[in-house]
């Protein structure tokens, strides 16, 4: 069970540790459900390189795919990212982030009231 979690996390971190792959995720965030051809547009990467990066992203489950006829559509799948958030940020920093956000809110309210 532990090995399985480590494997999954490793795949996600490995997939994210590359500028080109993060760029592909950003492009899917802008427009979800793109084909390979659409993703290749205006990119300084060969089609082969994009294919390779997408395969890694799919393996890490950061990209979900759907076939529509002969077209393969790529979707940003943030489910594993939420698991990372939960493990590395959520449980440690939530109270602190909450305190900061409360502080911000209270300072901003006071300022508005003065004005």
């Amino acid at each position: 069970m532990v090995a399985y979690y480590v494997q999954q996390m490793d795949a996600v971190f490995k997939a994210l540790a590359d500028t080109s792959r993060r760029k592909l995720l950003d492009r899917l965030y802008e427009t979800n459900g793109q084909t390979l051809t659409e993703l290749c547009e205006n990119l300084d990467m060969t089609r082969q390189a994009v294919t390779k990066h997408l395969r890694l992203l799919e393996k890490a489950n950061l990209v979900a795919t759907v076939w529509r006829g002969r077209e393969k559509l790529h979707y940003l799948n943030p489910v594993p990212l939420h698991e990372i958030y939960e493990r590395w940020i959520g449980k440690y920093d939530r109270p602190r982030l909450q305190a900061l956000s409360d502080l911000k809110k209270s300072l901003e309210t006071t300022k508005e009231e003065k004005e």
């Binding site: 759907v66 979707y75 799948n77 489910v79 939420h82 939960e86």
Partner: protein
């Protein structure tokens, strides 16, 4: 054919039957969905279904119809805010065994033009699905999911 708007997948170490129960039985749903929300229906094709809060007088947040139901395999629901029934969309749960795991794909599509639902659910699904995975694998949903509606 319009292309689907939102597609999420998660691989869960469980069985299709347990995953099905986690989606359709309120006593399980409440443990991971967040805010103690549950899905209520008899899960027969054509029946209504409701996504409701806990308590004696449950409040309905989402409502719709069961469009397709193949236990442990496929569930298709129509999906709308009861205060804005015209803004209707569709949610498809697909369950497929994958090696010693189960792959769950959730597709949320068929949004009406100008739907406000996309924005409301796109942050929520990843949270619900990672909490569902945690619940089935460890017996406990994620706390953070419970902080949100």
């Amino acid at each position: 054919m319009e292309k689907p708007k939102l597609v999420y997948t998660t691989y869960i170490r469980t069985t299709p039957e347990k995953l099905w129960a986690a989606i359709t039985e309120p006593e399980f749903t409440r443990q991971y969905w967040g805010g103690g929300m549950a899905n209520i229906s008899d899960w027969k094709q054509g029946s209504p279904w409701r996504h409701v809060t806990r308590g004696d007088q449950p409040e309905t947040y989402i409502t719709g119809q069961v469009l397709e139901c193949v236990p442990a395999k496929r569930l298709v629901l129509s999906w709308a805010d009861p205060d804005d029934l015209a803004d209707k969309s569709r949610v498809i749960f697909e369950i497929e065994p994958f090696r010693e795991m189960v792959c769950l794909t959730v597709t949320h599509d068929d949004f009406t033009a100008g739907s406000t639902m996309v924005g409301k659910v796109s942050g929520g699904w990843p949270r619900v699905l990672s909490s569902l995975k945690s619940f089935l694998e460890t017996g406990k949903g994620l706390d953070v999911a419970c902080d949100h509606k």
